[in-house]
Amino acid sequence: MSLTELGIQYASLHLDPSPLPGDERSCVFLSKRPPTALVVFVHGFRGDALETWQPFDRIATGSEAFREVDLVFFGYDAHYSNVMASSSFLYDFLKDAVAGPEAIVSALLPKLRADRSKGYKRIVLVAHSLGAVVCRWALLRAVEEKKEWRENVKMLLFAPAHSGSDLGAVASAAFSNVPWVPLFVEAVKAKVPLVKELDPESRILTELAERVRRASPNELCLRAHRVIVAEREIVVSNLPFPGDPCPDALRDTDHVSVCKPSSRVHKAVGFLQEMLK
Protein backbone atom coordinates (compact mmCIF):
# COMPACT_ATOMS: atom_id res chain seq x y z
CA MET A 1 0.00 0.00 0.00
CA SER A 2 1.11 3.55 -0.65
CA LEU A 3 1.79 6.29 1.88
CA THR A 4 -1.48 7.94 0.99
CA GLU A 5 -3.48 4.75 1.33
CA LEU A 6 -2.03 4.25 4.79
CA GLY A 7 -2.56 7.89 5.64
CA ILE A 8 1.13 8.54 6.15
CA GLN A 9 1.22 12.15 5.10
CA TYR A 10 2.46 15.35 6.61
CA ALA A 11 -0.20 17.02 8.73
CA SER A 12 0.76 20.66 8.75
CA LEU A 13 -2.28 22.16 10.43
CA HIS A 14 -1.96 20.67 13.91
CA LEU A 15 0.77 19.99 16.40
CA ASP A 16 1.87 16.47 17.20
CA PRO A 17 -0.39 14.81 19.78
CA SER A 18 0.22 15.43 23.44
CA PRO A 19 -1.56 14.44 26.65
CA LEU A 20 -4.06 16.90 28.10
CA PRO A 21 -2.53 18.84 31.00
CA GLY A 22 -2.93 16.67 34.08
CA ASP A 23 -4.69 13.90 32.18
CA GLU A 24 -2.41 11.28 30.64
CA ARG A 25 -5.37 9.24 29.40
CA SER A 26 -6.56 11.95 27.04
CA CYS A 27 -4.81 13.28 24.01
CA VAL A 28 -5.04 16.61 22.19
CA PHE A 29 -4.13 17.75 18.68
CA LEU A 30 -3.82 21.51 18.94
CA SER A 31 -4.51 23.65 15.92
CA LYS A 32 -1.57 25.82 14.92
CA ARG A 33 -3.97 28.68 14.33
CA PRO A 34 -6.27 30.29 16.90
CA PRO A 35 -9.10 27.74 17.03
CA THR A 36 -12.76 28.53 16.71
CA ALA A 37 -14.06 25.07 17.55
CA LEU A 38 -13.34 22.16 19.85
CA VAL A 39 -14.17 18.57 18.96
CA VAL A 40 -14.13 16.06 21.81
CA PHE A 41 -14.13 12.35 20.94
CA VAL A 42 -15.49 10.09 23.68
CA HIS A 43 -14.88 6.35 23.36
CA GLY A 44 -17.05 3.47 24.57
CA PHE A 45 -16.73 0.44 26.81
CA ARG A 46 -13.16 -0.78 27.05
CA GLY A 47 -12.19 1.71 24.40
CA ASP A 48 -9.16 3.91 24.34
CA ALA A 49 -8.84 7.63 23.69
CA LEU A 50 -7.10 7.23 20.32
CA GLU A 51 -7.49 3.57 19.42
CA THR A 52 -11.29 3.61 19.21
CA TRP A 53 -11.30 6.29 16.53
CA GLN A 54 -8.46 5.16 14.29
CA PRO A 55 -7.84 6.76 11.81
CA PHE A 56 -10.09 9.75 12.58
CA ASP A 57 -7.16 11.67 14.04
CA ARG A 58 -5.01 11.60 10.95
CA ILE A 59 -7.89 12.26 8.56
CA ALA A 60 -8.97 15.27 10.60
CA THR A 61 -5.47 16.67 11.02
CA GLY A 62 -4.88 16.32 7.29
CA SER A 63 -8.04 18.16 6.32
CA GLU A 64 -8.49 21.89 5.72
CA ALA A 65 -11.96 21.64 7.26
CA PHE A 66 -10.34 21.11 10.66
CA ARG A 67 -7.74 23.85 10.28
CA GLU A 68 -9.04 25.93 13.19
CA VAL A 69 -10.28 23.07 15.32
CA ASP A 70 -8.70 21.61 18.45
CA LEU A 71 -9.21 17.86 18.60
CA VAL A 72 -9.40 16.20 21.99
CA PHE A 73 -9.53 12.43 22.32
CA PHE A 74 -10.99 12.09 25.79
CA GLY A 75 -9.93 9.08 27.81
CA TYR A 76 -11.49 7.58 30.92
CA ASP A 77 -11.45 4.27 32.74
CA ALA A 78 -13.73 2.29 30.47
CA HIS A 79 -12.89 -1.00 32.12
CA TYR A 80 -14.04 -0.77 35.68
CA SER A 81 -15.56 2.65 36.22
CA ASN A 82 -19.24 3.58 35.93
CA VAL A 83 -21.27 5.97 33.80
CA MET A 84 -21.84 8.65 36.42
CA ALA A 85 -18.18 8.90 37.39
CA SER A 86 -17.09 9.02 33.76
CA SER A 87 -19.66 11.68 32.89
CA SER A 88 -18.50 13.71 35.87
CA PHE A 89 -14.94 13.72 34.52
CA LEU A 90 -16.16 14.73 31.08
CA TYR A 91 -18.33 17.49 32.55
CA ASP A 92 -15.35 18.83 34.51
CA PHE A 93 -13.22 18.81 31.39
CA LEU A 94 -15.83 20.69 29.34
CA LYS A 95 -16.38 23.23 32.09
CA ASP A 96 -12.63 23.84 32.39
CA ALA A 97 -12.08 23.93 28.63
CA VAL A 98 -14.70 26.66 28.32
CA ALA A 99 -13.32 28.60 31.28
CA GLY A 100 -9.84 28.96 29.81
CA PRO A 101 -7.08 27.32 27.81
CA GLU A 102 -5.35 25.79 30.84
CA ALA A 103 -7.34 22.56 30.48
CA ILE A 104 -6.20 22.17 26.88
CA VAL A 105 -2.73 23.66 26.56
CA SER A 106 0.29 23.05 28.75
CA ALA A 107 1.80 26.04 30.54
CA LEU A 108 4.94 25.21 28.58
CA LEU A 109 3.33 26.64 25.43
CA PRO A 110 2.27 30.18 26.38
CA LYS A 111 1.71 31.38 22.81
CA LEU A 112 -0.79 28.61 22.19
CA ARG A 113 -2.54 29.46 25.41
CA ALA A 114 -2.82 33.08 24.30
CA ASP A 115 -4.27 31.91 20.96
CA ARG A 116 -7.11 30.32 22.88
CA SER A 117 -7.96 33.18 25.19
CA LYS A 118 -11.18 33.99 23.32
CA GLY A 119 -12.64 30.54 23.81
CA TYR A 120 -14.49 28.30 21.35
CA LYS A 121 -17.52 29.30 19.31
CA ARG A 122 -18.57 25.70 18.84
CA ILE A 123 -18.03 22.44 20.69
CA VAL A 124 -18.90 19.10 19.15
CA LEU A 125 -19.00 15.94 21.21
CA VAL A 126 -18.41 12.88 19.07
CA ALA A 127 -19.23 9.73 20.98
CA HIS A 128 -19.26 6.00 20.40
CA SER A 129 -21.54 3.47 22.12
CA LEU A 130 -21.27 3.88 25.89
CA GLY A 131 -19.53 7.23 25.27
CA ALA A 132 -22.88 8.59 24.05
CA VAL A 133 -24.45 7.85 27.43
CA VAL A 134 -21.51 9.45 29.20
CA CYS A 135 -21.83 12.57 27.02
CA ARG A 136 -25.57 12.95 27.49
CA TRP A 137 -25.27 12.69 31.27
CA ALA A 138 -22.54 15.33 31.22
CA LEU A 139 -24.72 17.67 29.13
CA LEU A 140 -27.74 16.98 31.30
CA ARG A 141 -25.74 18.24 34.24
CA ALA A 142 -24.78 21.36 32.27
CA VAL A 143 -28.50 21.94 31.62
CA GLU A 144 -29.51 21.35 35.23
CA GLU A 145 -26.76 23.71 36.40
CA LYS A 146 -27.73 26.23 33.68
CA LYS A 147 -24.23 26.51 32.22
CA GLU A 148 -24.27 29.00 29.36
CA TRP A 149 -21.74 27.06 27.30
CA ARG A 150 -24.23 24.24 26.77
CA GLU A 151 -25.82 26.31 24.01
CA ASN A 152 -22.67 25.96 21.91
CA VAL A 153 -22.52 22.18 22.17
CA LYS A 154 -23.72 19.64 19.62
CA MET A 155 -23.56 15.85 19.68
CA LEU A 156 -22.61 13.45 16.89
CA LEU A 157 -23.24 9.89 18.03
CA PHE A 158 -21.99 6.61 16.60
CA ALA A 159 -23.90 3.45 17.55
CA PRO A 160 -25.11 5.02 20.80
CA ALA A 161 -25.95 2.65 23.63
CA HIS A 162 -28.85 4.68 25.03
CA SER A 163 -31.42 2.02 24.32
CA GLY A 164 -29.49 -0.80 25.86
CA SER A 165 -27.25 -3.51 24.55
CA ASP A 166 -26.56 -7.19 24.47
CA LEU A 167 -24.24 -7.62 27.44
CA GLY A 168 -22.17 -10.44 26.03
CA ALA A 169 -21.89 -8.78 22.65
CA VAL A 170 -20.78 -5.43 24.01
CA ALA A 171 -18.04 -7.10 26.00
CA SER A 172 -16.75 -9.14 23.10
CA ALA A 173 -17.04 -6.32 20.56
CA ALA A 174 -14.90 -4.23 22.84
CA PHE A 175 -11.94 -6.38 21.90
CA SER A 176 -12.24 -5.92 18.20
CA ASN A 177 -9.04 -3.93 18.06
CA VAL A 178 -7.58 -7.42 18.02
CA PRO A 179 -8.08 -8.80 14.52
CA TRP A 180 -8.48 -12.34 15.82
CA VAL A 181 -11.23 -11.44 18.26
CA PRO A 182 -13.82 -13.88 16.89
CA LEU A 183 -11.74 -16.65 18.40
CA PHE A 184 -12.23 -15.37 21.88
CA VAL A 185 -15.87 -14.52 22.14
CA GLU A 186 -16.48 -17.69 24.10
CA ALA A 187 -13.92 -16.60 26.67
CA VAL A 188 -15.59 -13.31 27.44
CA LYS A 189 -17.69 -12.89 30.53
CA ALA A 190 -19.07 -9.48 31.30
CA LYS A 191 -18.85 -8.81 35.01
CA VAL A 192 -18.01 -5.14 35.07
CA PRO A 193 -20.28 -2.25 36.09
CA LEU A 194 -20.12 -0.38 32.81
CA VAL A 195 -21.52 -3.35 30.93
CA LYS A 196 -24.30 -3.91 33.45
CA GLU A 197 -25.24 -0.25 33.13
CA LEU A 198 -25.93 -0.82 29.45
CA ASP A 199 -28.61 -3.41 30.10
CA PRO A 200 -31.87 -2.17 28.50
CA GLU A 201 -33.46 -2.20 31.96
CA SER A 202 -30.60 -0.29 33.57
CA ARG A 203 -31.67 2.55 35.88
CA ILE A 204 -28.87 4.66 34.44
CA LEU A 205 -30.54 4.54 31.02
CA THR A 206 -34.14 4.88 32.13
CA GLU A 207 -33.34 7.76 34.48
CA LEU A 208 -31.43 9.54 31.73
CA ALA A 209 -34.36 9.19 29.32
CA GLU A 210 -36.77 10.40 31.98
CA ARG A 211 -34.73 13.47 32.86
CA VAL A 212 -34.20 14.42 29.23
CA ARG A 213 -37.96 14.13 28.66
CA ARG A 214 -38.57 16.46 31.59
CA ALA A 215 -36.06 19.03 30.36
CA SER A 216 -37.29 21.91 28.24
CA PRO A 217 -37.58 21.11 24.52
CA ASN A 218 -35.44 24.20 23.98
CA GLU A 219 -32.45 22.43 25.48
CA LEU A 220 -31.10 21.48 22.08
CA CYS A 221 -27.77 20.21 23.41
CA LEU A 222 -29.58 17.21 24.91
CA ARG A 223 -30.67 16.03 21.49
CA ALA A 224 -28.16 14.50 19.15
CA HIS A 225 -27.53 16.59 16.05
CA ARG A 226 -26.93 13.43 14.08
CA VAL A 227 -26.87 9.71 14.89
CA ILE A 228 -24.90 7.18 12.85
CA VAL A 229 -25.62 3.47 13.14
CA ALA A 230 -23.97 0.38 11.72
CA GLU A 231 -25.48 -1.85 9.07
CA ARG A 232 -24.44 -5.00 10.91
CA GLU A 233 -25.19 -3.87 14.44
CA ILE A 234 -25.57 -6.71 16.95
CA VAL A 235 -24.38 -5.01 20.11
CA VAL A 236 -26.72 -2.09 20.76
CA SER A 237 -30.30 -1.36 19.85
CA ASN A 238 -30.63 1.17 17.03
CA LEU A 239 -33.88 2.49 18.48
CA PRO A 240 -33.56 6.30 18.63
CA PHE A 241 -33.31 8.01 22.00
CA PRO A 242 -36.31 10.31 22.73
CA GLY A 243 -35.89 13.52 20.76
CA ASP A 244 -32.99 12.32 18.63
CA PRO A 245 -33.26 12.35 14.83
CA CYS A 246 -33.72 9.12 12.91
CA PRO A 247 -30.29 7.59 12.41
CA ASP A 248 -28.18 7.41 9.26
CA ALA A 249 -26.77 3.94 8.64
CA LEU A 250 -23.34 3.28 7.17
CA ARG A 251 -23.03 0.31 4.82
CA ASP A 252 -20.60 -2.53 5.56
CA THR A 253 -19.98 -1.45 9.13
CA ASP A 254 -20.44 -3.12 12.49
CA HIS A 255 -20.55 -1.79 16.03
CA VAL A 256 -16.80 -1.23 16.19
CA SER A 257 -15.99 -0.15 12.64
CA VAL A 258 -18.86 2.36 12.40
CA CYS A 259 -16.73 5.04 14.08
CA LYS A 260 -13.55 4.24 12.16
CA PRO A 261 -13.50 6.15 8.88
CA SER A 262 -12.07 4.19 5.98
CA SER A 263 -11.67 4.76 2.29
CA ARG A 264 -15.14 3.27 1.92
CA VAL A 265 -16.75 5.03 4.82
CA HIS A 266 -15.57 8.61 4.84
CA LYS A 267 -19.12 9.77 5.27
CA ALA A 268 -18.73 10.03 9.01
CA VAL A 269 -16.03 12.67 8.62
CA GLY A 270 -18.35 14.60 6.33
CA PHE A 271 -21.06 14.69 8.99
CA LEU A 272 -18.61 16.14 11.46
CA GLN A 273 -17.43 18.74 8.95
CA GLU A 274 -21.01 19.85 8.41
CA MET A 275 -21.48 20.38 12.12
CA LEU A 276 -18.42 22.60 12.31
CA LYS A 277 -19.76 25.07 9.74
Binding site: L6, I8, F175, W180, L183
Partner: protein
Protein backbone atom coordinates in the same frame (compact mmCIF):
# COMPACT_ATOMS: atom_id res chain seq x y z
CA UNK B 1 20.57 31.24 -1.99
CA UNK B 2 17.08 30.27 -0.88
CA UNK B 3 15.98 30.69 2.70
CA UNK B 4 15.90 27.54 4.84
CA UNK B 5 12.47 26.08 5.45
CA UNK B 6 11.32 27.50 8.82
CA UNK B 7 9.05 24.57 9.60
CA UNK B 8 11.62 22.17 11.14
CA UNK B 9 12.50 24.89 13.66
CA UNK B 10 8.82 25.42 14.34
CA UNK B 11 8.31 21.65 14.87
CA UNK B 12 11.19 21.59 17.33
CA UNK B 13 9.99 24.64 19.22
CA UNK B 14 6.71 22.86 19.92
CA UNK B 15 8.19 19.43 20.58
CA UNK B 16 10.91 20.37 23.05
CA UNK B 17 8.71 22.13 25.66
CA UNK B 18 6.24 19.25 25.51
CA UNK B 19 9.07 16.80 26.05
CA UNK B 20 10.11 18.78 29.11
CA UNK B 21 6.62 18.19 30.46
CA UNK B 22 7.04 14.42 30.32
CA UNK B 23 7.53 13.07 33.81
CA UNK B 24 9.93 10.32 32.69
CA UNK B 25 12.31 12.80 31.05
CA UNK B 26 12.39 14.95 34.18
CA UNK B 27 12.56 11.81 36.33
CA UNK B 28 15.58 10.44 34.46
CA UNK B 29 17.37 13.78 34.68
CA UNK B 30 16.62 14.00 38.39
CA UNK B 31 18.03 10.52 38.99
CA UNK B 32 21.14 11.43 36.98
CA UNK B 33 21.65 14.39 39.29
CA UNK B 34 20.88 12.55 42.53
CA UNK B 35 22.80 9.31 42.02
CA UNK B 36 26.56 8.96 41.74
CA UNK B 37 28.05 6.83 38.96
CA UNK B 38 28.24 3.72 41.13
CA UNK B 39 24.59 3.89 42.23
CA UNK B 40 23.43 4.69 38.71
CA UNK B 41 25.48 1.83 37.29
CA UNK B 42 23.93 -0.57 39.80
CA UNK B 43 20.42 0.68 39.00
CA UNK B 44 20.99 0.25 35.26
CA UNK B 45 22.74 -3.14 35.45
CA UNK B 46 21.96 -6.02 33.13
CA UNK B 47 19.39 -8.30 34.72
CA UNK B 48 21.76 -11.27 34.38
CA UNK B 49 24.08 -9.64 36.93
CA UNK B 50 21.40 -9.64 39.61
CA UNK B 51 17.64 -9.86 39.42
CA UNK B 52 15.67 -6.65 39.11
CA UNK B 53 12.69 -7.19 41.36
CA UNK B 54 12.28 -4.26 43.74
CA UNK B 55 9.35 -1.99 42.93
CA UNK B 56 11.45 1.15 43.22
CA UNK B 57 14.14 -0.26 40.95
CA UNK B 58 11.62 -1.40 38.37
CA UNK B 59 9.92 1.99 38.35
CA UNK B 60 13.22 3.87 38.08
CA UNK B 61 14.44 1.71 35.19
CA UNK B 62 11.10 2.24 33.50
CA UNK B 63 11.67 5.99 33.79
CA UNK B 64 14.99 5.60 31.96
CA UNK B 65 13.50 3.34 29.30
CA UNK B 66 10.79 5.86 28.53
CA UNK B 67 13.21 8.79 28.58
CA UNK B 68 15.43 6.93 26.11
CA UNK B 69 12.41 6.31 23.89
CA UNK B 70 11.61 10.02 23.94
CA UNK B 71 15.18 10.78 22.89
CA UNK B 72 15.07 8.11 20.20
CA UNK B 73 12.12 9.97 18.75
CA UNK B 74 14.32 13.06 18.36
CA UNK B 75 16.81 10.97 16.39
CA UNK B 76 14.04 9.75 14.05
CA UNK B 77 12.95 13.36 13.55
CA UNK B 78 16.52 14.33 12.65
CA UNK B 79 16.77 11.60 10.01
CA UNK B 80 13.44 12.67 8.55
CA UNK B 81 14.43 16.34 8.57
CA UNK B 82 11.42 17.11 10.75
CA UNK B 83 13.65 18.89 13.27
CA UNK B 84 16.47 21.27 12.37
CA UNK B 85 19.99 19.93 12.20
CA UNK B 86 21.08 22.08 15.11
CA UNK B 87 18.87 21.67 18.15
CA UNK B 88 20.20 24.60 20.19
CA UNK B 89 22.83 24.90 22.90
CA UNK B 90 20.65 24.51 25.99
CA UNK B 91 18.72 21.62 24.49
CA UNK B 92 21.93 19.86 23.42
CA UNK B 93 23.41 20.30 26.87
CA UNK B 94 20.41 18.66 28.49
CA UNK B 95 20.42 15.80 26.00
CA UNK B 96 24.08 15.13 26.72
CA UNK B 97 23.52 15.35 30.46
CA UNK B 98 21.38 12.24 30.15
CA UNK B 99 22.78 10.36 27.16
CA UNK B 100 26.39 11.19 27.88
CA UNK B 101 26.37 9.97 31.46
CA UNK B 102 28.60 6.88 31.54
CA UNK B 103 26.27 4.38 33.30
CA UNK B 104 23.35 5.51 31.15
CA UNK B 105 25.47 5.15 28.03
CA UNK B 106 26.49 1.61 29.05
CA UNK B 107 22.81 0.80 29.62
CA UNK B 108 21.72 1.70 26.09
CA UNK B 109 24.94 0.80 24.25
CA UNK B 110 26.10 -2.40 25.94
CA UNK B 111 23.52 -3.94 28.23
CA UNK B 112 20.33 -3.32 26.29
CA UNK B 113 21.67 -1.96 23.01
CA UNK B 114 19.59 0.54 21.08
CA UNK B 115 21.14 2.57 18.31
CA UNK B 116 19.15 5.79 18.14
CA UNK B 117 20.19 7.31 21.51
CA UNK B 118 23.83 6.67 20.54
CA UNK B 119 23.40 8.38 17.21
CA UNK B 120 21.60 11.30 18.82
CA UNK B 121 24.39 11.68 21.38
CA UNK B 122 27.06 11.66 18.67
CA UNK B 123 25.09 14.11 16.54
CA UNK B 124 24.47 16.54 19.38
CA UNK B 125 28.11 16.30 20.46
CA UNK B 126 29.15 17.15 16.90
CA UNK B 127 30.94 13.85 16.38
CA UNK B 128 28.61 12.58 13.67
CA UNK B 129 26.37 14.49 11.33
CA UNK B 130 23.21 12.50 10.80
CA UNK B 131 22.04 12.43 7.17
CA UNK B 132 18.62 13.96 6.58
CA UNK B 133 15.63 13.58 4.34
CA UNK B 134 13.62 16.73 3.91
CA UNK B 135 10.50 15.81 1.99
CA UNK B 136 7.01 16.08 3.43
CA UNK B 137 6.71 12.31 2.92
CA UNK B 138 9.52 11.87 5.43
CA UNK B 139 7.82 14.27 7.83
CA UNK B 140 4.60 12.33 7.43
CA UNK B 141 6.53 9.17 8.30
CA UNK B 142 7.77 10.75 11.51
CA UNK B 143 4.31 11.99 12.43
CA UNK B 144 2.94 8.54 11.77
CA UNK B 145 5.48 7.11 14.21
CA UNK B 146 4.50 9.62 16.91
CA UNK B 147 0.88 8.52 16.67
CA UNK B 148 1.61 4.84 16.28
CA UNK B 149 3.91 4.74 19.28
CA UNK B 150 1.44 6.67 21.44
CA UNK B 151 -1.13 3.93 20.83
CA UNK B 152 1.14 1.20 22.13
CA UNK B 153 3.50 2.78 24.65
CA UNK B 154 1.17 2.72 27.64
CA UNK B 155 -0.28 -0.75 27.14
CA UNK B 156 0.43 -2.69 30.35
CA UNK B 157 -0.30 -6.06 28.73
CA UNK B 158 2.14 -5.42 25.92
CA UNK B 159 4.77 -4.47 28.49
CA UNK B 160 4.23 -7.75 30.34
CA UNK B 161 4.58 -9.82 27.18
CA UNK B 162 7.62 -7.88 25.98
CA UNK B 163 9.31 -8.34 29.33
CA UNK B 164 8.85 -12.09 29.02
CA UNK B 165 10.29 -11.95 25.49
CA UNK B 166 13.20 -10.01 26.90
CA UNK B 167 14.09 -12.82 29.30
CA UNK B 168 12.43 -11.50 32.44
CA UNK B 169 10.41 -13.85 34.61
CA UNK B 170 7.59 -13.22 37.06
CA UNK B 171 8.00 -15.82 39.75
CA UNK B 172 7.80 -19.13 37.87
CA UNK B 173 6.39 -17.53 34.75
CA UNK B 174 8.91 -17.14 31.95
CA UNK B 175 8.34 -17.01 28.21
CA UNK B 176 8.47 -20.77 27.70
CA UNK B 177 6.19 -21.54 30.64
CA UNK B 178 3.81 -18.92 29.30
CA UNK B 179 3.79 -20.31 25.77
CA UNK B 180 3.32 -23.84 27.06
CA UNK B 181 0.30 -22.67 29.04
CA UNK B 182 -1.60 -21.50 25.96
CA UNK B 183 -3.08 -24.84 24.97
CA UNK B 184 -6.48 -24.02 26.44
CA UNK B 185 -7.74 -20.82 24.79
CA UNK B 186 -10.48 -20.21 27.35
CA UNK B 187 -8.06 -20.39 30.26
CA UNK B 188 -5.44 -18.37 28.40
CA UNK B 189 -7.86 -15.56 27.64
CA UNK B 190 -9.62 -15.36 30.96
CA UNK B 191 -8.23 -11.86 31.39
CA UNK B 192 -10.37 -10.48 28.56
CA UNK B 193 -13.17 -9.16 30.75
CA UNK B 194 -10.93 -7.89 33.52
CA UNK B 195 -9.47 -4.44 34.01
CA UNK B 196 -5.67 -4.54 33.59
CA UNK B 197 -4.90 -4.25 37.28
CA UNK B 198 -6.96 -7.33 38.14
CA UNK B 199 -5.32 -9.57 35.54
CA UNK B 200 -2.76 -12.15 36.59
CA UNK B 201 0.65 -11.95 34.90
CA UNK B 202 -0.30 -14.89 32.72
CA UNK B 203 -3.58 -13.27 31.64
CA UNK B 204 -1.81 -10.00 31.01
CA UNK B 205 0.86 -11.70 28.91
CA UNK B 206 -1.80 -13.45 26.81
CA UNK B 207 -3.47 -10.13 25.99
CA UNK B 208 -0.04 -8.59 25.44
CA UNK B 209 0.83 -11.34 22.98
CA UNK B 210 -2.19 -10.46 20.86
CA UNK B 211 -1.31 -6.80 21.08
CA UNK B 212 2.26 -7.54 20.01
CA UNK B 213 1.07 -9.42 16.95
CA UNK B 214 -1.28 -6.55 16.08
CA UNK B 215 1.63 -4.15 16.54
CA UNK B 216 3.80 -6.14 14.09
CA UNK B 217 0.95 -6.43 11.61
CA UNK B 218 0.47 -2.65 11.51
CA UNK B 219 4.12 -1.61 11.73
CA UNK B 220 5.48 -3.57 8.79
CA UNK B 221 3.13 -2.34 6.03
CA UNK B 222 3.71 1.22 7.19
CA UNK B 223 7.48 0.75 6.96
CA UNK B 224 7.11 -0.85 3.56
CA UNK B 225 5.12 2.14 2.35
CA UNK B 226 7.99 4.42 3.36
CA UNK B 227 10.36 2.97 0.75
CA UNK B 228 10.66 6.37 -0.90
CA UNK B 229 12.14 7.84 2.27
CA UNK B 230 14.53 5.06 3.29
CA UNK B 231 16.29 6.91 6.12
CA UNK B 232 13.00 7.70 7.81
CA UNK B 233 11.82 4.15 7.18
CA UNK B 234 14.97 2.75 8.72
CA UNK B 235 14.89 5.18 11.67
CA UNK B 236 11.28 4.19 12.41
CA UNK B 237 12.36 0.56 12.39
CA UNK B 238 15.32 1.34 14.67
CA UNK B 239 12.87 2.99 17.06
CA UNK B 240 11.60 -0.55 17.73
CA UNK B 241 14.77 -2.41 16.74
CA UNK B 242 15.41 -3.63 20.24
CA UNK B 243 12.63 -6.13 19.68
CA UNK B 244 13.62 -7.15 16.18
CA UNK B 245 17.39 -6.90 16.08
CA UNK B 246 19.07 -7.79 19.36
CA UNK B 247 16.60 -10.61 19.89
CA UNK B 248 15.81 -11.41 16.28
CA UNK B 249 16.02 -15.16 16.67
CA UNK B 250 13.96 -15.17 19.85
CA UNK B 251 11.32 -12.72 18.69
CA UNK B 252 10.89 -14.30 15.26
CA UNK B 253 10.72 -17.78 16.76
CA UNK B 254 8.47 -16.79 19.64
CA UNK B 255 6.13 -14.87 17.36
CA UNK B 256 5.84 -17.96 15.19
CA UNK B 257 4.99 -20.03 18.27
CA UNK B 258 2.27 -17.50 19.13
CA UNK B 259 0.85 -17.66 15.61
CA UNK B 260 0.80 -21.45 15.77
CA UNK B 261 -1.14 -21.19 19.03
CA UNK B 262 -3.71 -19.00 17.28
CA UNK B 263 -3.99 -21.50 14.45
CA UNK B 264 -4.54 -24.29 16.96
CA UNK B 265 -7.24 -22.30 18.73
CA UNK B 266 -8.86 -21.71 15.36
CA UNK B 267 -9.07 -25.44 14.66
CA UNK B 268 -10.45 -26.06 18.16
CA UNK B 269 -13.16 -23.42 17.99
CA UNK B 270 -16.59 -24.83 17.24
CA UNK B 271 -18.58 -21.62 17.18
CA UNK B 272 -16.59 -19.41 14.85
CA UNK B 273 -18.38 -18.19 11.72
CA UNK B 274 -17.12 -18.75 8.20
CA UNK B 275 -16.31 -15.11 7.60
CA UNK B 276 -14.59 -14.73 10.97
CA UNK B 277 -12.55 -17.87 10.35
CA UNK B 278 -11.38 -16.48 7.02
CA UNK B 279 -10.49 -13.14 8.64
CA UNK B 280 -8.49 -14.80 11.40
CA UNK B 281 -6.59 -16.98 8.92
CA UNK B 282 -5.78 -13.91 6.85
CA UNK B 283 -4.61 -12.04 9.94
CA UNK B 284 -2.29 -14.92 10.87
CA UNK B 285 -0.79 -15.01 7.37
CA UNK B 286 -0.28 -11.25 7.24
CA UNK B 287 1.28 -11.21 10.68
CA UNK B 288 3.63 -14.06 9.80
CA UNK B 289 4.85 -12.14 6.72
CA UNK B 290 5.16 -8.95 8.76
CA UNK B 291 7.28 -10.59 11.46
CA UNK B 292 9.55 -12.16 8.84
CA UNK B 293 10.19 -8.76 7.27
CA UNK B 294 10.70 -7.07 10.63
CA UNK B 295 13.42 -9.47 11.77
CA UNK B 296 15.34 -10.07 8.55
CA UNK B 297 17.29 -6.83 8.69
CA UNK B 298 15.99 -5.21 5.50
CA UNK B 299 14.80 -2.12 7.35
CA UNK B 300 18.10 -1.70 9.16
CA UNK B 301 20.03 -1.50 5.92
CA UNK B 302 19.50 2.15 4.85
CA UNK B 303 20.94 3.62 8.05
CA UNK B 304 23.59 0.93 8.50
CA UNK B 305 24.82 1.40 4.94
CA UNK B 306 24.64 5.17 4.95
CA UNK B 307 26.54 5.51 8.21
CA UNK B 308 28.77 2.53 7.41
CA UNK B 309 27.99 0.94 10.75
CA UNK B 310 28.91 -2.64 11.52
Amino acid sequence: MSKPDPRPREHWEFFWPMMQGRTEVQGALRLCRELDDSALDELLRHHSKSTVDGMVEIERRDVFDKALQAHSLIAVALFSGYFPESLGAAESKQILELLGREPVRKYYEERYPVLLPSLLRLHVAGQVKLPRETSEDAWGGFQWLVRFSSRFERDPHLATFNNLLDGFSYGDLNIQVFLDSLTDSKAALSGFAKPPELCTRRESAALGMLRFLTFCRELEPALRAMEGVPLTQSACWFFYAYWFKGFAEDVGGRAEECLKVLETWLTQSTEIGIRAERDVKMSVLETRDAVTALVDGRYAAPIINRLRLK
